[in-house]
Every structure is written in C-alpha cells, then in structure tokens.
Amino acid sequence: MTDTATETSPTRTGAATIQDLVLTDEQATLRDVARDFLGARVPMKRVRELMATPSAFDEGLWQEVAAMGWQAMAIPEDLGGAGYGMVEVAVVFEEIGRAVAPLPMLSTIMATAVLRDHGTDDQRATMLPSIAAGALRMVVAVPVAGADDGVEITDTEAGARLDGHASHVIEAVGAEAVVVATGRGAFVVPTDRAGMTVVPMDALDPTRPLARVEFANVAVDDDDALVGDAGDVIDTARTVGAVMLANEMVGVAAGAHAMAVEYAKVRRQFGRAIGSFQAVKHLLADDLVQLEAARSTAWWAARALAVHDVEEVAVAVPVAASLCPATAAAITGHSIQVHGGIGFTWEHDAHLYYKRASAATLLLGSGRAWRRRLGATLALT
C-alpha cells in the first residue's frame, strides 16, 4: 500500500551533497560527550538554581563550555573557531534541549551566523574570536511579530543615534552586545554603551530569559554597522536560530518522553504498571511517532544549512521550524499527563520541559508564520 517510487537521491544537482540522516561516528561521540557533560554539570538541580536568577547564566559553566569549544563550533578556524558544521552544532543543541539547560547557546549561534554572513572583516576578526573564547556574549534582537517594537535611527550633529526598544530579546540579560535592526541597516551595539538598558522580562520559560533592550539616544557609527540589508541580517539569525531551536526541541521532547516512559514502567495503579494500559502506552507510542518525525526534519534542516543549499533550506527550515516546537509542546504536555498529579507540581521536572517547548512555539515565529513562509516557497497560498 505504501508508495513504491524508486529510491531517490536526496540531493540536488548543483548543490553540495547533503549528509545522510545518520550521525557519523564523530558526531555520535560529540553527542555522547555533550550528554555526559550536561548531565554532570547541568543536572536538574542546577537548572533550577539558574532559572531562579534573572540571567539564568553561570559564567563558570560558560567558560567550561567554551573550553569544550561549543561557542566556537560554527566559527571558522582562522578566527579562533573550531570550524565544525551546522550538523555538529545541531547535535549539541539536541543535547541542550534534553537537559533543558539554561545555556545562552541559541543567541550565540545566531550572533555567530550574523557576524559570519554580515560582519565586516574587522568585526569578524575582533568579535568572532572573542565569542569563540567565551569572552564576548552577543545576542540578536529578532523582532517578534505582534510586539510593539522598533528602533529608529536619526542623524544628529554628533552622529547617528538610536532610539526605541526591542523586546523579547533572547538571552539578552547579561549579554555584552546586541545586534539590532533599524531602518538603515543593522548594528552591533555594546550593552554598556551610554543610553543602553537591558530590562529582564518575566519569561514563561524561566530557563531562557528574555529582555527588553532599550535604546535612548545611543550613539552608533560605521564601526558598529553590519554589512547588508537589516532584513537579511535578521533573516540569517532567524533561520539559523530556528534550525537550532528545532533541534533543541527534539531534545526537549525526547527528554520529556523518556521520563514519561520510565515513569510508566514503574508507577503502578490497579496492581499494574500504568504503561501496561493502552491509554498510556498508545499515547507514548503516538508521541514516539511524532518525535521521530520531528527529529527527521530537524536533522534534515541542519544538513541543508550545513551545505548552504539555498533551495533546500527554503523548504527544510520552515518544515522543521513549524513542526518541531509544536511537537515538543504536545509531547511535553503529554509527559505531564502520564505523570499525573506529580507531573503538575513545581518540584517535578516535567514543567521545565513543557515551558521550554511552549515558549519555543512562539520564540522565532509561530508555526503558522513558518507555514506561511513555506506556502510562499511552494506556491501553495
């Protein structure tokens, strides 16, 4: 009954070959190292300690991560980076998600991609090595649809000035620099510059702080300006961010699902493990189906991004970005259900997954927004 079209090559003539949807031995090792590290250094107890602080940021941990080279992964080797590809970055994100770790890696990879594609030579040469070393934390203010945001640029006698604000800026609390789009290009602005204020917002997901970044007569000059159209800068950040967020969501879903499966094996009611009841078993089985489907799209999007296959990216990214957060939100919700009352308590970890996933459904664009984008690509609107 299944379609039996002949095996087709996943790649397209003219584009670099897209990696197979399996982990290479090196990637599997990277995954194992990441999982072990996060399990040891960011256990749930530590997640809870960090999320109780405004920045949810641990400088020591960040330096440990830097020592492992995570911030450097997507940075070319000649700029202090490790020169890995997006597939390897995605492997790490899946593990970050599984650990619900409050590590500002999402903003970092977005900023890295922006500098890589839109930085001046000078910016790249000074900033990327600092990011790679864990010395500079830079975030990108990606506009959130529906938010009343905007940063205006005006020329004064003393030079250009920025006024306005950007809200919901991911992991901005404690960052040293922020990329912001204006009507006249995008800028990298240090957060300690006069007129800059970073105000933490009450985030639904306390493991990923959000902030409102306010600009009051902030001076910028050509050294701060990024290359290219501001829309392109934001699009780079959004695209790379969405792919990594999708991979993170696969980890979040997998973590919550595994927790529910284990609980269903040991929790007994009516004299039986609750996982022996089809009501629970089939819920978890259906979630496995959705989880594996989501993982396939997240992996594929990372692989398309890794080889800069523009045509494939235009399809693969909205597919993963629309599907993975929603899937994670559903699965993490079901995990609470399988745990029953205990899963609804603050002291249980189920809600950490649920909140992380729920926020992700809106963080870099709603599922609907990504489908609109896909519809435009496919001419299906």
Binding site: M201, D202, G271, T345, W346
Partner: protein
Amino acid sequence: MDDMTRIDDAIDALLAAHPPATTPPRDFWGAQFDAGLAWVHHPVGKGGLGASPRHLAHVRSRLGEADADQSNLRSNIIGIGMGAGTLLSHADDAMQDRLLRPMFTMEEIWCQLFSEPGAGSDLANLATSAIAEGDQWIVNGQKVWTTLAHVSRWGLLVTRTDPGQPKHRGLTYFVLDMDSDGVDVRPLHQITGEAEFNEVYLTDVHIDDAMRLGAVGAGWSVAMTTLMNERVAIGGNVPERGTGAIADAVAAWQDSDHDDQAMADQLLQLWVEAEALRLTSLRASHARTAGTPGPEGSTSKLHWAELNKAITTFTMQVLGPDGLLMPGGYELTAPTLDEVPVVTPQQSFLRARANSIEGGTSQILRNILGERVLGLPGEPRVDKDLPWREVPR
C-alpha cells in the same frame, strides 16, 4: 402547598428579614441555613426544607438576582458541595447539628483527604492506616492534592483499617479535626508557582470512633457518597455562551491585529466546540429537571478538560509575544480564602494541564464512559480479589 411555593415564600421571608445589601454575609448564611435554604433537599432543621434537589438551582438563581453573597458555595466547596451530603447520609444527628451550620456559614472550612501519592487514579489503593485503640483510632499516612487543607478545620478522611481485605474492602471513613496533634499541612506548589493544593502528613493522629462515618470497612461506599455529591454541588450551573476560556481566546483575538483566516478558523472551531459543550451541559440540566438523565450528563468533565487545554493553548498563540511571558513571574504563593485571584491567560494555560488529571484523569473518565455508559466490558483486573497487602506496588 407545593415545594416551589414553600421555597419562594421562604426566600421572600429571608430577603425581607435579612436584606443582602445590609446583612454581613456570615449572618445572612446563618439565616439562610435556618430558613432551610442552604440545601433545600436537606430535611427541615438540617439546612433544608425536604424538597427535591432540583430546586437547588432555583434558590441560587433567586438569591443571585437579589445580589446575595453566595461565595460560600465556592469558597467552602468541599464542605458545602460534598461534605454536607456525606454527613446527611452517614453522620448521626448530633454530628450533623454540630457541623452543618458552621460549614455553611464558612466559620469552618472543609477539605477532602482521599488521594495519596500511591493512590491517584487508583483511589482504592490508599495506604493511610487507621488502627483501633480503645474507642480511638490511630492514623498514620500521607494525603495529597488537598485543596484548602491549610485553612480547614475539618477533613473528610478515608483510611485503611484492614489491609488483609481486597482493596475496596477494609477502608474506613472519618471526619478529621484538622487541629489534631500530628496533622502537618504543607503547601504543594504547582507549575504556576501557586499552591492551591497541599500535602497532609498524618503522624499518630488520634480520632474518636464517634467521628467515624459508616461502618468499619465500609469506607469505600461512604467515599462514593462524597464523590457523587460532587455532581450535585456543581450541577445546574450552565455558563453563559462565550464565557470561560473561550472568552479569553476571543478577547486575545480582538486585542490582536491578527487578520489571519487560518487562526480565525481555529478560533471559530474552538468556539463551536465550547458552545456544543455548553449546550450539552444545558441539555443535561434540562434532562435532570425533567427526570430523564442520559449520557449527556456524563461527558462534560472529559470534554471540558480536553477542550480547555486546547483553548488555552490556542490563546497563547493568539497572544503572540505575550505568550512568551509569565506576567509577574513565578511566585511560590498559596491562595488565601478572601482573595479572588486575577488569573492571566498564561496562568490559565499552565493551570489547564491539570484539568485532565484532577477529579478523574481523562483516561479514567474514558474508562468510566466506556464501561458504565456504553456497557463495554472491563479489563482483566489483577488486583481485585487479592488482599490489599499482597498487591505489588
């Protein structure tokens, strides 16, 4: 004189003698109890007029029109909604006389000590032990999900008095004085940060045998009385069209600048389903009044739980950037009786996850619908006839 006339006369007299606008609520509730208008289906002297329970809604409706404060129904819901009926069925006169009036006037708040960490869906699996010692019982164990325990004077308590019996037998039911030594109430914070619920640890708590409801070993059937009364307590209340969670969704939609037909259609689908649920509650209410209750009376909790999750989740999508926030953050607080909390859509969204767990998980409710309403056969039961102590757990 028919019931309706008697009731209307009593209401007229109550309102005339104790104008709601000028009577302190507690005094009004006392007078309401004395007039037999607390629970009209109770006997005279026990807060009632010996009428049919279907007149309850009428009393509430008339008092509502007169702007009488009826917040006791909600604030002391475990007592007034479930405890009263249980006392009426199983307590002696003296106990009823001691407990019913202060329950209705809110002088004494009640809580329900049924669920345990090991007895959730499988309530009959409860392990809290009560051991007879003279005319007292010594109780040890842990209860959980106890709404109002932190402000309660009395608890409806089910214990295991004979672990050698199969699980549904060997249970015994008590009214517990929450001020007793050995009762330790600890707030249980939920994913919103609030602690609507508590854990209640019972350590060598002494209860007089006089506080027992029903026979020793008959605790399961007394507990069923309590749970049956839950329906009566909330029955008859049909929300108005477009109220509840869907109102938040509509408000969010109207506040947004969304012009996306895809989301509009999702909103409309949810609106239609909410209206269908509301009409089903209305139908159930009509059928109860007509004395012809059918399956429509059994589906609402399950339907509501699943729909409420869907609606509150959708609302977060409509909120867009605000859906990323938890305004006010997560504060670990416990609600007090007086405060009417302002609930944000974000809190509603998180809170909704419990809807399909509390008061019967959706899974258990589907079992009940399947077996009791549709008549489908039960599953093989591995624990049913085993002595409770021999069931692996």
